[in-house]
């Protein structure tokens, strides 16, 4: 599936909820399902800077595609939910598609403000980090 196909599918899941708090509850629940990552990734090297909470992200490049591993500190449940959504959408995609992705889903699930308020959200930092991987690996391919 393409990035936008995955986004649209997720958006239709979220549209089952009218209330913003219910949408956020769904984000939290998605975070709880995020598989744990190896402790070796929970170091400063993999830490996403710019988040109020600790979120780690690692990328593996295989067969022309990027695969992401991520986790957040246990108390930061919304951050974990958000990174899990981003991983669902971007993991396994081509680097150039990741670099150029328009992640309109965040606005649609009520998290648009977290993308723009860089200091508080950290969501912008997550997206920037993942797109950064995309940019780097798309240049390597050339």
């Amino acid at each position: 599936m393409t990035i936008n196909e995955i986004q649209d599918e997720l958006i239709s899941d979220f549209e089952l909820f009218d209330e913003q708090l219910d949408k956020t509850q769904y984000i939290i629940d998605l975070g709880k399902k995020l598989p744990p990552i190896d402790e070796k990734y929970k170091t400063d090297e993999y830490l996403i800077h710019g988040c109020q909470s600790k979120v780690w992200l690692a990328a593996e490049f295989r067969d022309g595609r990027l695969y992401f591993l991520g986790d957040g500190e246990p108390t930061a449940q919304i951050a974990k939910g958000l990174i899990s959504i981003l991983i669902k959408i971007l993991s396994g995609q081509k680097p150039e598609d990741i670099a150029n992705a328009d992640l309109y889903i965040m606005e649609r699930v009520g998290m648009g403000a977290l993308v723009t308020s860089r200091r508080s959200g950290g969501l912008a930092a997550m997206i920037q980090k993942m797109k950064g991987f995309g940019t780097v690996y798309s240049q390597l391919e050339v």
Binding site: L21, S53, A76, G122
Partner: protein, 408 residues
């Protein structure tokens, strides 16, 4: 009730309180970051731009004269607000941070030397840490930090131990933005003066809650921001004792601050203009007067009494939240309620309260060393102003229960 305020009438003075956030009536508990503005101030801002916008000083025309007069009226108004001895002791700045930087740069670079010691406290905002660190790096001064107790109060006996003949400057916060603690600044100042040190107070938080009398305090400098006292953003003042300000070199060069410029030599203007290079923030300075008039109409003691009632009510109400711990339990504090909840990240509390229409601040509140002192990365902070109500605090409690349910 120990106050005589009509809170509903006051709420009607603040148009923003009618806003809906996420479909719910706004509950604004982020007043320690900035207060909302009464209609009076908004009208003053638009009135300035609509009727007498002009650059001030040296203008020969009607509008320039009117703008200059309004600008200088604000200076006199602020002089009265702080009970400063002279109007020229009021320097307009961009805010508290700007005022502290002015003193660290101008006074610090001129009068402090290698080995001199500067004392701050554990509960300082970064804006009262970093300028002094920069000065220490440049001049070889030494920064000393007064420790605090678990309630969030300065340890005065430890402060006294730090005071020596090497102490040349003490810069402390009057009221902590993260904890709400009101520091015993009069005593701090007297003890600093006893060893010949000068004292700056960071009054960013204190100025909206407490009556400030710089002559009674005998502080050498006092820096504050008007946007925390129902006034406009982007402006503040630095109060400084006239003799000290006169002895200090200008901080920035440019127009307004000069007497005469030639390519060989420039002579500087007198106080307060020596420190006000360039076109100032005229509109906001003009509107600031109206914010102070508004505060005086309500009466600061009335505001303080009401805010203390809100704090007491909220402090008791949050005690029913399981796992909640208040950070900052000083005996003397203003209406700031900082807290952590077991197992829940403060950012999640902030996001989920926001989705219920409740604005609080989360994070380290620009006091990272203070957070380290309490072994936490941040808190959630609800801070109350005169337009808040106990009904809104009830919504906060309901909101926090909801947060716990969602994240449990």
């Amino acid at each position: 009730m120990s106050h005589s305020l009509d809170i509903q009438a006051i709420r009607n003075d603040f148009p923003i309180l009618n806003e809906l956030v996420n479909g719910k009536p706004l509950v604004y508990f982020d007043n320690a970051a900035t207060t909302q503005k009464p209609r009076l101030v908004l009208d003053a801002l638009s009135g300035y731009y609509e009727h007498y916008n002009a650059n001030i000083h040296r203008g020969i025309h009607f509008l320039a004269e009117k703008a200059t007069s309004a600008f200088e009226q604000s200076r006199h108004r602020l002089q009265a607000f702080l009970n400063a001895a002279h109007a020229e002791e009021i320097i307009f700045t961009y805010g508290t941070t700007d005022g502290i930087n002015l003193v660290a740069s101008s006074y610090g670079r001129t009068f402090l030397k290698a080995g001199d010691e500067i004392i701050i406290s554990t509960m300082e905002h970064h804006s009262n840490i970093v300028p002094w660190q920069m000065l220490c790096e440049e001049k070889g001064c030494v920064l000393k930090v007064i420790p605090i107790n678990d309630e969030g109060e300065i340890l005065m006996d430890e402060y006294e131990k730090l005071l020596t003949e090497r102490t040349k400057f003490v810069s402390v916060v009057h009221v902590s933005n993260s904890l709400g603690t009101i520091n015993p600044v009069k005593e701090i100042i007297a003890k600093a003066h006893a060893v010949g040190a000068k004292v700056l107070l960071d009054g960013a938080q204190a100025s909206s809650h407490l009556t400030i009398d710089v002559q009674d305090l005998d502080c050498d400098f006092y820096s504050l921001s008007l946007h925390k006292i129902y006034g406009p953003t982007g402006m503040g003042i630095l109060y400084g004792k006239r003799d000290l300000l006169n002895a200090m070199p200008p901080y920035r060069g440019g127009g307004e601050m000069i007497k005469e410029v030639t390519f060989e030599k420039t002579t500087y203007n007198e106080l307060p203009y020596k420190f006000e290079a360039g076109t100032p923030n005229i509109a906001d300075v003009v509107a600031a007067k109206f914010a102070l008039d508004y505060v005086d109409t309500l009466g600061k003691p009335n505001i303080a009494a009401y805010e203390n009632e809100l704090l007491k009510y909220a402090t008791e109400a949050v005690s029913e939240i399981p796992g909640l711990k208040i950070i900052g339990r000083a005996k003397e504090k203003v209406s700031v309620l900082s807290f952590v909840i077991d197992g829940i990240h403060h950012q999640d509390i902030g996001v989920l309260l926001d989705q219920q229409g409740i604005a609080v601040r989360t994070g380290h509140h620009c006091t990272q060393p203070l957070m380290n002192r309490f072994n936490i990365t941040g808190t959630s902070r609800a801070s109350f102003a005169v337009y808040n109500t106990t009904e809104e605090i009830d919504k906060l409690i309901v909101g926090l229960h909801k947060v716990q349910k969602m994240l449990g």
